[in-house]
């Protein structure tokens, strides 16, 4: 099945967000005096909400000189109430079903995304990235598999086959996606990112987290490593069963052994538990 780029862009404009965020956004926004911090925190733990906000503020309607790179940045630029109402209008689209016809577990997927984000941020902190830039790592980790939500939600039957082929033939999921859709989740993500003029670092990690040239971008290297660590530790599930080699910059800094990296990072479990509260049930 071939899907046109235009179709993808069109579909995602009306994509619902994750259930817990949707419910909490509706709850929070029903209070005129809701705490802005809570709202920002909520939005930035949901890849669909983030995508919608960044898509809007970076769109031609605003024509801003520099790209808006975070939810806080959006709040400073277009104001809290506008961000709040954009979140609310995303919430009114509905919720991403927990189970879809692809048999792809959305809660497990969200945990994978949040864990990758959390670990990427922890690694960046450890690598002495300035604190103002840490969120870029979180965001790149959160969004890296965005294309999979598009497949699972809008092309569930075909995605089910891709998941099955990947498992049975022990190939990477993106390779199976290439066979079925002629496009993979990394390409879908970067297509959207480019179309909507998202920040370049985000587009790069959407695009290159499986095909990066090592050392070209620290964010991509860190996200790619965080992705492997998340898989190894089995935080959630993203449909991918194979591990990839860690980028050299990461092994140089932390060593080759994933468990040693985790030890080095400190209390990963507690950090991931903090992220779990953004997932349903």
């Amino acid at each position: 099945m071939k899907i046109s780029q235009q179709d993808i862009v069109h579909l995602v404009e009306k994509m619902p967000a994750f259930p817990k965020t949707v419910h909490r956004v509706i709850e929070l926004t029903s209070d005129m005096n809701c705490n802005p911090k809570d709202l920002v925190e909520l939005i930035e733990h949901d890849p669909v909400m983030v995508m919608n906000i960044l898509r809007l503020v970076n769109s031609a309607y605003f024509g801003l000189a520099q790209p808006i790179t975070s939810v806080n940045h959006a709040v400073v630029y277009i104001g809290l109430n506008t961000v709040k109402n954009v979140a609310l209008s995303t919430a009114t689209i509905g919720v991403l079903p927990k189970r879809n016809e692809a048999g792809f577990d959305m809660e497990a997927f969200l945990l994978h995304s949040l864990s990758t984000a959390t670990i990427a941020r922890m690694m960046a902190k450890r690598m002495k990235v300035p604190s103002k830039d840490l969120f870029d790592y979180f965001l790149a980790g959160l969004m890296h598999d965005f294309g999979k939500i598009v497949f699972a939600n809008f092309m569930p039957h075909e995605f089910k086959i891709a998941l099955k082929i990947a498992k049975e033939n022990s190939i990477h999921l993106y390779e199976a996606e290439n066979e079925i859709f002629d496009i993979n989740h990394a390409q879908v993500g970067s297509l959207l990112g480019e179309k909507w003029q998202l920040p370049q670092s985000l587009v790069d990690s959407l695009k290159c987290h499986h095909s990066h040239k090592e050392g070209k971008s620290q964010i991509i290297d860190v996200v790619s490593a965080a992705d492997q660590i998340t898989k190894e530790l089995k935080f959630g599930y993203s449909g991918e069963n194979l591990l990839e080699a860690l980028p050299a910059i990461i092994t140089k800094q932390f060593g080759k052994d994933i468990n040693a990296i985790v030890t080095d990072l400190g209390d990963v479990n507690t950090e991931i538990d903090n992220a779990r509260i953004f997932i349903s049930s």
Binding site: P36, S59, Y61, F62, G63, L64, H73, V76, G79, S131
Partner: protein, 292 residues
């Protein structure tokens, strides 16, 4: 160029014995260039008396810039009489609504729908054009150049810089100075602080040295804590901005509907005592005309 205040109230029109001197109409500012081009910023109820004055200068060719679409800045628009007269040319500018994904034309025209107004936009006789503005887009309005910049309010809000005849005037629209939503011990505090500094710097550079600054000073500093986040500035924040940006003169506007003339006078004398520096500032009143 000249600037005239036709409405200086915020929120809701407030006629009555207590607002006779400063005026009760909501926001509307007219700018007339030396060449006679007319630029109107905001269409609060003050646009109605302005419209009357324009009838003496038919056919009307003017540009209307909307800072934002809260009622007090657009409510007078259906009563802008030049709309109803053929051969008038009216260009309207404002921000696209990112939440409902609507152009400025649709947002404004809803005010003239059947339930709200007897005449539909489509029945108006003047030639009317609508333009969605991007931030920092410059429009040539006759001999003037008007440039937008995003301000901080609970809806998209443009401040407008009007440059003409070698002079510059800036109106903030409704605006609350940015503040950090985090407390110093939060992780994001510093990042947010940096973002605020960046935006403030861009803004100050944008308005630096303007001849006239017209700014939203809805509240006193004492009233402000209870109104934080509502999207308005204070007398003190406006003066601070004017001093920081090195502007020549400041006009304070968007008066609270419940604030009577005497109360404004008291505030003004207090400010004069507090700020004895070189900055010239005044409280804007309806009918006030300034030569920029």
């Amino acid at each position: 160029m000249k600037a005239r205040f036709w409405g200086v109230r915020g929120s809701i029109a407030s006629p009555g014995p207590k607002t006779v001197r400063y005026g009760g109409n909501t926001t509307c500012i007219e700018i007339e260039t030396d060449a006679g081009d007319v630029i109107i910023i905001d269409a609060g109820t003050g646009i109605f008396p302005l419209a009357q004055s324009l009838l003496r200068r038919l056919p009307v060719k003017c540009s209307v810039f909307i800072t934002h679409t809260h009622w007090d800045h657009i409510q007078g628009l259906p009563f802008f009489i030049p709309f109803f007269i053929p051969k008038n040319e009216i260009s309207i500018y404002g921000a696209f609504d990112p939440v409902a994904s609507q152009p400025i034309k649709d947002i404004l025209n809803r005010q003239m729908e059947y339930c709200y107004f007897p005449v539909r936009e489509g029945e108006l006789k003047a030639e009317i054009t609508y333009t969605n503005l991007r931030e920092r887009e410059t429009i040539e309005a006759g001999s003037a150049r008007v440039t937008s910049i995003l301000m901080n309010h609970p809806v998209l809000d443009f401040g407008y810089l009007v440059e003409c005849d070698g002079k510059r005037l800036f109106f903030t629209g409704d605006n609350e100075p940015l503040y950090n939503i985090y407390s110093p011990d939060d992780d994001y505090y510093e990042e947010y602080e940096t973002l605020i500094e960046m935006k403030n710097k861009l803004f100050i550079d944008f308005v630096r040295g303007v001849d006239v600054l017209i700014a939203d000073s809805a509240y006193t500093s004492e009233e402000y804590p209870a109104k934080k986040g509502w999207g308005h500035g204070t007398f003190d924040s406006c003066i601070k901005l004017a001093e920081e940006a090195g502007v020549k003169s400041l006009y304070l506007t968007h008066h609270e509907p419940t604030r009577g003339d005497d109360a404004l006078d008291v505030i003004y004398s207090g400010l004069q005592e507090k700020y004895a520096g070189p900055l010239e500032f005044r409280i804007a009143s309806e009918g006030l005309e300034i030569e920029v």
